[in-house]
Amino acid sequence: MAWMVWTLPTAVFFSTIAAILAGMAAWEVISPTVERKGFLPIATTRGDRLFIGLLSAAYIHLIVVGFTDITIWVALAISVVWLLILLRWG
């Protein structure tokens, strides 16, 4: 695996994504998702909302890193809160 030049932050990042996916799969088995309409303009399933949350998290990070001097941890915090809001009320 040396050729993949792993670093601790990227390893943590991918482990978290894998854990989230595994968790979502388990959740789906225990109680299958129902498509519903929240504050988003479209009806979504749980997986849709996770995807929207992750994609917007990527953009939040890019904006914070590229165009502001705020530390990246703020972007992470905003993203996590946003993801939870999306999953609950999206």
């Binding site: 993949m4 030049v5 670093t7 991918f14 994609l55 953009y59 890019l62 890193v65 590229g66 165009f67």
Partner: protein, 295 residues
């Protein structure tokens, strides 16, 4: 309708594909992510840089300009190719030997490899021996794609339209062929105009193939590389340098693996977002229609 058995274990059949995709896409993508946060010199020498490459890439004026050009290019070719493709499909003969002949003729440009398309147009547009280049000059227009950015742009768009409109036309043709004759009969009984037939029968029935067509053409055109590279080399100046060519210059020309990894990820995120928006928008349009009791 036959009752279908719903069994999630069927997903296990996808496993072999998943393994293949892991090796061909997921693991390389993870490696790119690893590269994007480091400055890698060789197998043993590397430094963690955090988000620095992303910050530099996002603030690089040359790359920002390339991104804007890329969007301008993609939307221009889509705006030309989609209506043109639908129009061609409507005009194509429906049966007999003419149908086969036209199909083959229309498909020809699609069979030509990207580099060859670039070379064909490179020769076609030469001022001294090219039919189009020499012809335009003969008519008194000082056509020159190596000097004039407007000429270069127009030629690249023309080239892309020539190469890829057939794809849209073929997709639409197959979509049109699948409309049952009963719809047209009903339209004739109602004395519907040609426009009404197009607007309320043909266009709605084409939505599915158009979704695929627009998605494919957007992704293709957003990642276009070989054709403009062969035709103009990104010039004059950088007026036709699109994103993938900037990326190649960084990754292969300058061996800046960290910055180009960061750039690739941003590129990927843009494509992911645009495709998702297209897909969701069009799928929801269809769902609304279904709920209203339409198609």
């Amino acid at each position: 309708m036959v009752n279908k058995v719903y069994n999630n274990r069927a997903w296990l059949l996808v496993l072999p594909m998943l393994v293949l995709v892991a090796f061909s896409a997921i693991i390389p993508l993870m490696t790119v992510v690893n590269y994007s946060v480091q400055d890698v010199f060789d197998a043993n020498t590397r430094f963690f840089t955090g988000a620095e490459w992303f910050e530099r890439t996002l603030n690089n004026a040359g790359l920002q300009a390339a991104l804007l050009r890329q969007f301008a290019f993609s939307f221009t070719v889509l705006a030309i190719q989609v209506p043109l493709g639908i129009g061609i499909a409507l005009l194509m003969p429906k049966r007999g030997w003419q149908a086969s002949a036209v199909l083959i003729l229309i498909t020809l440009p699609l069979l030509i490899p990207w580099n060859v398309v670039g070379s064909i147009w490179q020769i076609f547009t030469r001022g001294d021996i090219g039919l189009m280049g020499a012809g335009l000059r003969g008519l008194g227009y000082g056509y020159n794609i190596t000097r004039n950015p407007v000429d270069a742009w127009a030629t690249i768009i023309l080239m892309d339209v020539w190469h890829w409109t057939p794809l849209i036309a073929l997709l639409c043709y197959s979509g049109l062929r699948s409309i049952p004759e009963a719809y047209y009969q009903a339209a004739r009984i109602d004395r519907a105009s040609k426009w009404a037939v197009f607007r309320y029968i043909q266009l709605p029935k084409l939505t599915n193939v158009l979704v695929i067509g627009v998605l494919l053409r957007f992704m293709h055109s957003f990642m276009i590389y070989a054709e403009p590279f062969v035709l103009t080399g990104g010039g004059p100046g950088s007026s036709t340098t699109f994103l993938s060519q900037s990326l190649t210059t960084m990754a292969i020309g300058q061996q800046d693996l960290g910055p180009s990894a960061a750039f690739s990820l941003i590129y990927f995120l843009i494509i992911l977002l645009v495709c998702w928006v297209f897909y969701t928008a069009i799928m929801n349009m269809q769902k609304d229609k279904a709920e209203r009791g339409g198609v």
